[in-house]
């Protein structure tokens, strides 16, 4: 058994994991990063449109600040988010974007004077201020009151990932590429690292660490139609779940992006609509204003996706040999704009559809895109039930997004979480020593070895690939955008059957080395458990909130359901997770529950909402017009939860620092 010792073990080489690693390394800790793929190939690279940070440089962002970003994010979450975390996030996001600028990200910049833009289908002239010239530009995204999304053409994630990955190389942090964590080593109270598999040689290696960070991204591949990369199978979530100690939060909260290209599901950015693109139906009619007169195409993603599917169900879809879809029309933006600001979109259209979006409409339909749920943590990023285990980014549920994430908030979250969680990981390593017996490490190593042996020569008869395809079909058909008791119950029952069958998987091949068939087999065993957390959580949540829509319970029910679902997997023999619930404290909310400004307006009030609203109104009145910082501090003090280095105010054109 080979053992690698390190202070901090980071599982996942995307933006969140890399940024955590940099933070811990700068604090003097030894860091080792495990990544399924070379880090620059992580799915972070696929974030196209941009990251939200309230810099307020462009004229359409004038007046933006942390408060506005906070309100947009909480409303977007349908009040499912942890408001302390939203505050920490919106406060740190401008610092993150500026740090990335210093690291070389070529953010698109403001040019002074007049420029043409498209807003609500109309060509307009915007005049940028002289004092904004050369500062980082922002574009419009859905569910936001201001233009807040900082961008690098439409290759934002790529540029960010390369800059951060190059900082990792500059910091001499080793990345063990093509290495997959298969289980977390723990003693029921503390996590001590992971057992990982070398995806080139097949060797199992024990990584022993003071602190272990799961930053493995999303789980889109639980679904058949997803924008996610093929590596986004949720194995990081699953190994936390398999500890039986760490819990997953809100796994039923799954986002569907309105504009996956049809039928491949490849993403085209929300920036298409943010920059003025329109959604059209089979008749060429722009239908979103009929449903959402205020925000139209730029309501939040959950709302737009639902409206699109509703419109298709009403018989208004365009028909093709692959089925029904709608159209995304960006032709009105013009060739120059598309070739400069939407060039990846143009490439994708050209290569995968054989069309030119300067002239042609793009066939789109909603596709699974993002997991709001994840490993439940404190705002520090540490698991609330397993010491020494941290999570950051999409794999985590510290809970920035609640039941719906705003576009541009995830790639921002990766780096912000990396900054904040990285500091708390370093704090943890300052306070803790390695404290693990080699016997425990060996037990975990042997258990994983035995699980693999069982798959390779246990004589099983089930086909892993078939189980996976069935799971993906169930999730897309029964646990999708519209949910209902009967199909959900059927999904849960069928997944139980698949979980049982997955214990009897056999392989057809026995090639030494990586053995791709073995990889599918051990992953599908874990993915099924995760899929069941999504399906069962969705069945039990008898309300509609954000992206979780129940046709049989169409109202948001704050009275019963203003709570987070916690899923844990107690025994290996179980076929269902054990669910419990964690109440959100309305009396601590800076923004008490209300209407989002788009979507349905039919929520059932929580009894504390009116009480809290009166308190908030009184505090606002007492504070008057002066000092938004003082008011904010009275409403929800959060700064002490941030690392000291990130507590300072953010400079803006209209809020200069002395």
């Amino acid at each position: 058994m080979r053992i690698v010792h390190t202070d901090v073990l980071v599982i996942g080489g995307g933006l969140a994991g890399l940024r955590v690693g940099i933070a811990a390394r700068r604090r003097g800790h030894e860091v080792t990063i495990l990544s399924l793929v070379p880090p620059k190939r992580s799915h972070s690279a696929a974030a196209q449109g941009g990251m939200q940070a309230s810099l307020a440089n462009v004229i359409q962002g004038h007046g933006d600040n942390e408060d506005v970003h906070f309100g947009d994010t909480v409303r977007g979450s349908d009040w499912g988010a942890d408001q302390d975390v939203v505050r920490m996030f919106t406060h740190t996001a401008p610092k993150a974007v500026r740090e990335l600028a210093a690291w070389g990200v070529p953010w698109s910049r403001v040019r002074r004077g007049d420029r043409e833009a498209v807003i609500n289908g109309e060509h307009v002239t915007l005049t940028e201020r002289d004092e904004a010239h050369g500062l980082i530009a922002q574009r419009n995204f859905g569910g936001t009151k201001k233009w807040r999304t900082c961008y690098v053409s439409d290759g934002t994630g790529h540029a960010m990932l390369y800059a951060v990955s190059d900082q990792v190389i500059a910091s001499r942090i080793p990345v063990h590429e093509r290495t997959e964590a298969l289980s977390l080593i723990h003693d029921g109270g503390r996590c001590h690292g992971a057992i990982a598999r070398d995806l080139i040689t097949g060797e199992l290696v024990a990584y022993v660490a003071k602190a272990t960070v799961v930053a493995s991204g999303g789980a889109g591949r639980l679904y058949r139609v997803t924008t996610n990369a093929v590596i986004n199978e949720g194995i990081g979530h699953a190994i936390a779940l398999e500890t039986g100690v760490a819990a997953l939060g809100n796994m039923e909260a799954v986002q569907f992006h309105p504009t996956g290209i049809f039928p491949a599901g490849i993403l085209v950015t929300e920036g298409c609509r943010g920059d003025g693109g329109l959604l059209r139906d089979g008749d060429g009619h722009r239908f979103m204003p009929d449903y959402e007169p205020e925000k139209k195409e730029l309501a939040s993603r959950d709302v737009v996706s639902r409206r699109m599917e509703e419109h298709i169900l009403a018989g208004k879809g365009a028909r093709s040999r692959f089925g029904e879809h709608l159209w995304l029309d960006i032709t009105l933006l013009g060739q120059h704009h598309i070739e400069h600001n939407l060039r990846e979109v143009k490439e994708i259209c050209q290569y995968f559809l054989g069309i030119d979006p300067v002239k042609d409409w793009i066939p789109v339909r909603p596709a699974q895109h993002y997991s709001m749920g994840g490993i439940r943590t404190w705002p520090s990023g540490e698991s609330r039930s397993l010491s020494g285990l941290f999570a950051a980014g999409e794999a985590a549920c510290w809970d920035l997004h609640g039941f719906n994430r705003l576009g541009g908030n995830s790639v921002a979250e990766t780096v912000v979480a990396g900054m904040i969680v990285g500091e708390s990981v370093a704090d943890y390593c300052d306070r803790h020593e390695l404290d693990v017996s080699t016997g425990l490490v060996r037990d975990f190593w042997q258990r994983e070895q035995a699980r693999l042996r069982q798959l390779i020569d246990g004589g099983g008869s089930e086909d892993a690939q078939a189980l996976k395809l069935r799971m993906q079909a169930i999730m897309t058909e029964k646990v999708g955008i519209f949910r209902d008791a009967a199909p959900l119950a059927a999904a849960v029952e069928e997944l139980q059957g698949l979980i049982r069958r997955s214990r009897n998987i056999g392989l057809r091949s026995s090639a030494p080395g990586a053995n791709p068939e073995l990889v599918v087999a051990y992953r599908v065993q874990r993915m099924l458990k995760l899929a069941q957390c999504v399906a069962y959580g969705a069945l039990m949540r008898t309300e509609s909130r954000g992206a979780h829509f129940r046709a049989d319970y169409p109202r948001r029910d704050d009275a019963q359901w203003l709570k987070r679902t916690l899923a844990s997997w107690r025994n290996d023999d179980d076929t269902l997770p054990t669910l419990s619930y964690e109440d959100l404290d309305v009396l601590r909310m800076e923004l008490p529950p209300g209407w989002r400004g788009y979507g349905a307006r039919n929520q059932i009030e929580h009894p504390d909402t009116a009480v809290r609203q009166r308190q908030v109104d009184a505090l606002r009145a007492a504070c008057g017009e002066g000092g938004r910082a003082a008011l904010q501090d009275a409403l929800l003090p959060f700064r002490q939860q941030l690392p000291p280095r990130y507590r300072g105010p953010n400079e803006r054109i209209d809020e200069p620092l002395p």
Binding site: A101, P106, G134, D360
Partner: protein
């Protein structure tokens, strides 16, 4: 306006039979010699090599090794030699190819198995060697993150991004005559990166510093100007221009004495 690909009329032709030959070798099984293995499958609508190879692995041969991540042409994982030419498999539609398709792993890079090569290891070594990060003034706390960002001209940001779009897929290295002969050649990927950092006002390195990194035959002077790199770059990076430009700048730096032979006072 809206008669896009998805609205094409129903197929009248029967689907084509594709014959995909893969150059196979698993270093973990050295006793089995490298060999060509041919798989037959029926072409489907919108089929890419991503779809075709996965279908082969799922149905015909679970041991076949290849790499895909984003399957959208942006991550650079799936570069391979497709009918003799390096390219991204995920965005290659089979309709653009004849029915006989030959696939081989990228040369130059360490072979992991079949079509999978270790571009990641090569690229990390390249990054360490030519230091592909912004060399800014070092401060204890890094930049002051509370303050507004330093300004940059919009055109300058766009020019940097133009070169920053490299996805490290390895096609340029695989298509490079020099890289095939000279094991330590840095490749167009590295030279383009240094051109990118040279453009970036945040990077304080000067031509003398860059000369130290690529001012020799394993660097920009090793290039034979065959320009296979420029032909195959899937992101259409202006590699030919950057190579010529960097060679001229490095020649000037050498002439000025950046190699220490005749240092000038500035």
């Amino acid at each position: 306006m809206n008669d896009a690909a998805a609205d094409m009329p129903a197929e009248t032709q029967p689907p084509r039979r594709l014959r995909i030959s893969v150059l196979r070798y698993n270093p973990a099984e050295p006793e089995r010699a490298p060999r060509l293995q041919t798989y037959e499958l029926e072409e489907a609508d919108g089929m890419t090599l991503f779809i075709a190879l996965n279908e082969i692995r799922e149905i015909q041969d679970p041991s076949l090794q290849f790499d895909f991540v984003c399957r959208a042409g942006i991550c650079g994982s799936c570069a391979m030699v497709i009918n003799g030419r390096p390219g991204l498999a995920c965005r290659t539609l089979t309709t653009q190819l004849p029915t006989k398709i030959a696939l081989a792993p990228l040369p130059v890079f360490e072979l992991i198995g079949d079509l999978s090569v270790n571009t990641g290891k090569w690229m990390r070594a390249m990054s360490e060697r030519v230091e592909t990060w912004v060399h800014a003034q070092e401060t204890a706390q890094g930049a002051d993150l509370d303050r507004a960002e330093a300004r940059m001209e919009p055109e300058q940001a766009e020019a940097i991004y133009e070169l920053d779009r490299c996805i490290e897929c390895g096609c340029c290295v695989a298509a490079c005559g020099t890289a095939r002969m000279r094991e330590d050649f840095v490749g167009a990927v590295a030279i383009n990166k240094l051109a990118r950092f040279r453009l970036d006002p945040r990077d304080l390195r000067d031509d003398g510093d860059f000369y130290e990194l690529i001012g020799d035959d394993d660097g920009v002077f090793g290039c034979m100007t065959l320009l296979g790199c420029d032909d195959v770059c899937p992101k259409d990076l202006p590699l030919m221009t950057q190579l010529a430009y960097m060679r001229r700048k490095m020649a000037a730096a050498g002439w000025r004495g950046a190699d220490g032979a005749a240092a000038t006072p500035d």
